[in-house]
Amino acid sequence: MNESHHTVGESHHARGENHPAVGGPGQGVYLYAVTSGGEPPRDLRGVLDGAVRPVPYGGLVAHVSDVPLDRFGEEPLRRSLEDLDWVEGVARAHHRVVEALAAAGPTAPVRLVTVYTGDEQVRDLLDRRHDDFAEILSHVAGRREWGVKAYLRRGTPPPSPAPPPPAAPSSAASAASRAGGGSPGMAYLRRKKENLRGREDLWRAAAELAEHLHAELGQVAVASYRHRPQDPQLSGRSETMVLNGAYLVDPAREEDFAAVVSGFRDRFLDVELTGPWAPYSFTSIDLGASRAGGVR
């Protein structure tokens, strides 16, 4: 077996001998999310299949799992974060934990790979940032985040389609010299040009429509956020994305919300509804800035 497996084996072994909750010198504590308490889901597994456990303090609960610092220390992370497969594994594990917590109660997800040196440091965080977390949690309590993505449908005919120009009638005498101008190749190029103008119009119209859709969804939602449209590589769809919105919705308004979505779905736009999500888009605050000189 390779070295890294060997190392992990050792750290598991070391953890077994010590107190799991304390964390040895080679152990870090990976933080997933903060909740306002309640019954946490059982048997939750996080990154590296580590058991997720609660760290309560002052009415808040941090949800963490132990991670070996030979993988989640500064140097290893610098390398690992270059590896998209590694990032995917961690992202999915992180997301799984956050989702399970969000399904159980108000949850403030923490950004990927937030690692502390021990539970004491996590409790310290809950102490220092108690009010910030409490505010976030009360904002998202009882509400769910929905994602709405709108795509310009492929193959939509241009709004005012111009017929391809008819082949220029050419006399037999000039036919040879006009070979380039009246050739099927030229006609093809002209059609492409027409098509292109159509696409530009189409794009403008779709962008306006997306604007309206976002505004209407925002009226039904408690809060809304418009993210950057995703590249086809990320969305997994080849169509052009014209809206990538996130909406925090009260349960009583979810039907209305879905009605707005379906009202905008036509032969022009494909509107995709995703969720419910943990309220990732509505807990985006930066608690890092004022930490200078903070407790380590």
């Binding site: 992370l77 990927l112 040196t117 994602g147 098509n195 993210h227 969305s235 379906s262 509804l273």
Partner: protein
């Protein structure tokens, strides 16, 4: 024409909002959320902030909207001949060059045929100076020699 309202309220792949649907586990959506959203706190492993910033930037290269993508130099759509004005110009130019090349080749071919098969026609086609040098009419070797020597006032047919 389909009435959009006659469509199903939700895509088949998603549960109605009243029910917990857990279908949306597209990696792009997940990465977008876990890296770019949520509470940002400095952990004790300080490297994470910097590294995540870098990763987020990398991810943004993928997520970027049209405008931001242009700013940071992502231009895949500009390489798409269907969308790109630049490529359209290249295609046009390519076509024009091909036409010109064809025309040149045709003229050259015609000139060669005439000089071989119809010496008289060649002379008619020549520049006016050629007429003064009637004694050389049809004398291709002399013509070629004169061209090589760069005879005064001589113009090569087909090169204008």
């Amino acid at each position: 024409m389909t009435d959009p309202r006659s469509r199903p309220v939700l895509r088949e792949s998603y549960a109605p909002p009243a029910v917990m649907g857990r279908e949306s586990t597209n990696l792009g959506d997940i990465l977008e959320r876990v890296l770019d959203r949520g509470v940002v706190i400095a952990g004790d492993i300080r490297v994470n902030l910097l590294e995540i910033e870098l990763l987020t930037i990398k991810l943004r290269l993928v997520i970027a909207s049209v405008d931001t993508a242009r700013e940071i130099g992502i231009d895949w759509w500009e390489r798409d001949p269907w969308l790109s004005g630049k490529d359209r110009e290249l295609v046009e130019e390519n076509r024009r060059l091909r036409e010109r090349l064809n025309a040149v080749e045709e003229r050259l071919l015609a000139w060669e045929e005439r000089t071989e098969l119809e010496p008289g026609a060649y002379a008619d086609d020549r520049d006016r100076q050629g007429e003064r040098q009637g004694e050389r009419r049809g004398d291709r070797q002399a013509e070629a020699r004169a061209r090589r020597l760069g005879g005064p006032g001589r113009t090569e047919p087909g090169r204008e």
